[in-house]
């Protein structure tokens, strides 16, 4: 279980996340919804350690990780795929996976680990030697997911995985996200601007507005909730 209590994130004089409490149950998918600038990315970066928490605590299974560096958290089993398809463009698919694996693997060898992710995304297996920068957007997103999954993390944070992708690819990606949660019991935190898409795979959801949690609940309940559109469109 991942618990966030009283979290505050600040950039200079701007408060991006204001006193947020969130709980993510083991083996579930949680959607984080909200308009641009609502604080979704900052929340996720604070959980993975890329930005410091100005206040509040982050715990995984009761252990306080608030003071740990991002790379220590990564080794504890937190994977975070950033928004904007950030991977190592000049490295091949294989190298991307190897970099993701070699500093945090737990025993198993690279071949076994990479074969397992290629099972999930067979089309990548044929492009192992291709520089990641030359792949299509959808394939890049698959590399990012593979890199995030290669050491079998306990927690997977996905920031806007559908952004800029063709709908058919989006469906594949989301199918894979569901499958990861189902098969490996990974706890997944998913931020999406396409709310219905996120809610279709999530168990529960939080809605953020101006850095604050304004709604939480079961995904099925939120899916029909009119206040959702208000959080997005402000109406």
């Amino acid at each position: 279980m991942l618990e966030v209590t009283g979290l505050v994130v600040r950039y200079g004089s701007i408060e991006a996340v204001r006193d947020c409490d969130l709980t993510f149950d083991t083996g579930t998918i949680t959607a984080i919804l909200g308009a641009n600038g609502a604080g979704k990315s900052s929340l996720m970066k604070a959980i993975s350690g890329l930005v410091p928490a100005a206040a509040g605590t982050i715990r995984i299974d009761g252990e306080d990780i608030t003071a740990l560096h991002a790379h220590r958290r990564a080794r504890l089993g937190i994977s975070h795929a950033l928004e904007g398809r950030r991977l190592f463009h000049s490295m091949s698919v294989d190298e991307n996976l190897r970099v993701a694996w070699e500093f945090r693997h737990r025993g198993n060898d690279f071949k076994t680990a990479s074969d397992r992710v290629f099972e999930r995304f067979p089309m990548l297996a044929t492009r192992r030697k291709t520089p990641a920068g030359l792949l299509s957007g959808g394939q890049q997103q698959m590399v990012i997911l593979s890199a995030a999954l290669i050491h079998e993390p306990r927690y997977l944070l996905l920031d806007e995985p559908s952004l800029g992708l063709a709908p058919v690819i989006v469906q594949q990606i989301f199918a894979a996200i569901s499958a990861v949660c189902r098969d490996s019991g990974t706890t997944i935190i998913l931020s999406e601007h396409v709310a219905a898409l996120a809610l279709s795979v999530a168990h529960q959801a939080y809605v953020l507005k101006q850095g604050k949690v304004v709604r939480k609940g079961a995904a099925s309940a939120l899916a029909v909730d009119a206040s959702l559109s208000a959080a997005y469109l402000g109406g």
Binding site: S48, G49, L50, H69, A70, H71, A74, R75, S79, H80, L82, R86, L87, F88, H89, S90, M91, E95, R98, V99, A100, E102, F103, R104, A147, H151
Partner: protein, 294 residues
């Protein structure tokens, strides 16, 4: 013709040393987008420390190794004192000035305690009178040793970067430090590693160039740093092969200008090339244009 070829060959050898300096500058640039404007003083420290240790009776191999280690250690100090505190401002002016100050401090230190006059640098492997015959051209053994060692080090570096976990980590941090940290890479340790390696490379280059020139003085290294930077810019601050090609082109141009116009003119030509390259193609001949962010 013979004269021209000899000049060209000397240029290739000296140029390979420039490329080595370029590699030292590029390493820290990759991991932190900064480079040490006092790098020249680390070349000087490498050479002066070697002379001092040899004078104290330390065996040659140990003396060189210690001098190189000292240069590497000083670079860690430079990172801690002159670079890290100034990265927050987001402006390069702070660390440019402070690393320049770091170099000047070392220069002043050596001048104060070892004198500002040139001191003789002993022959380590070959003497300046040893010549080898290559395709009918008399070639200085010292120059050949510099070329061989430089190229070997660069190949080793390329292999390290491409094949080893820490080499990949350097590339990962260079490309996107956030993503690297999320992959479990200890970014700070990679940065420190890159600074140690950068300093050590400067030390090696210092010893090699001093071997050729035969003397060192406190100002030794400053021009070399700028020339190394020219080579690095040829490679777009990113490519080792580019730096090697750039360094060699620069070395040959410098030696030819020096041989046919006047010795001192060689440096001026090299600096003119620097200004021209920067003005025409700031991203380097081998580099790719960075996307402008607004």
């Amino acid at each position: 013709m013979e004269f021209t070829l000899q000049l060209a060959f000397a240029g290739v050898c000296v140029g390979s040393a420039y490329a080595l300096i370029a590699m030292g500058l590029s390493l820290t640039f990759w991991t932190t987008r900064t480079l040490n404007f006092g790098q020249g003083s680390l070349l000087m420290v490498g050479a002066v420390a070697t002379v001092a240790l040899l004078g104290a009776g330390v065996p040659a191999v140990a003396a060189v190794a210690l001098a190189i280690a000292l240069a590497g250690a000083l670079m860690v100090v430079a990172e801690r004192v002159a670079i890290r505190p100034l990265l927050k401002s987001g402006d390069s002016m702070g660390w440019v000035v402070s690393t320049l100050g770091f170099g000047l401090f070392l220069q002043g230190f050596v001048a104060k305690f070892y004198g500002s006059q040139a001191i003789a640098f002993p022959s380590l492997i070959f003497t300046s009178l040893d010549f080898v015959d290559v395709f009918g051209i008399q070639v200085s053994a010292q120059y050949l040793a510099v070329l061989t060692l430089s190229v070997a080090l660069m190949v080793a570096m390329e292999i390290f970067l491409l094949r080893s976990a820490w080499g990949r980590a350097v590339r990962a941090v260079s490309h996107d430090a956030d993503v690297a940290a999320l992959a479990g890479i200890p970014v700070r340790r990679v940065v420190v590693l890159s600074f140690v390696a950068s300093g050590a490379l400067a030390g090696v280059a210092g010893v090699m160039v001093a071997q050729i020139t035969g003397t060192v003085d406190p100002q030794f290294g400053f021009n070399l740093m700028v020339l190394g930077f020219v080579a690095a810019v040829f490679g777009g601050m990113g490519s080792i092969v580019g730096a090697l090609v750039g360094g060699i082109a620069l070395g040959v141009a410098e030696k030819l200008a020096g041989g046919f116009i006047s010795t001192a003119f060689g440096d001026a030509v090299a600096f003119a090339i620097l200004m021209a390259v920067l003005a025409i193609r700031p991203q380097g001949l081998f580099g790719r244009r960075e996307m402008t962010k607004v």
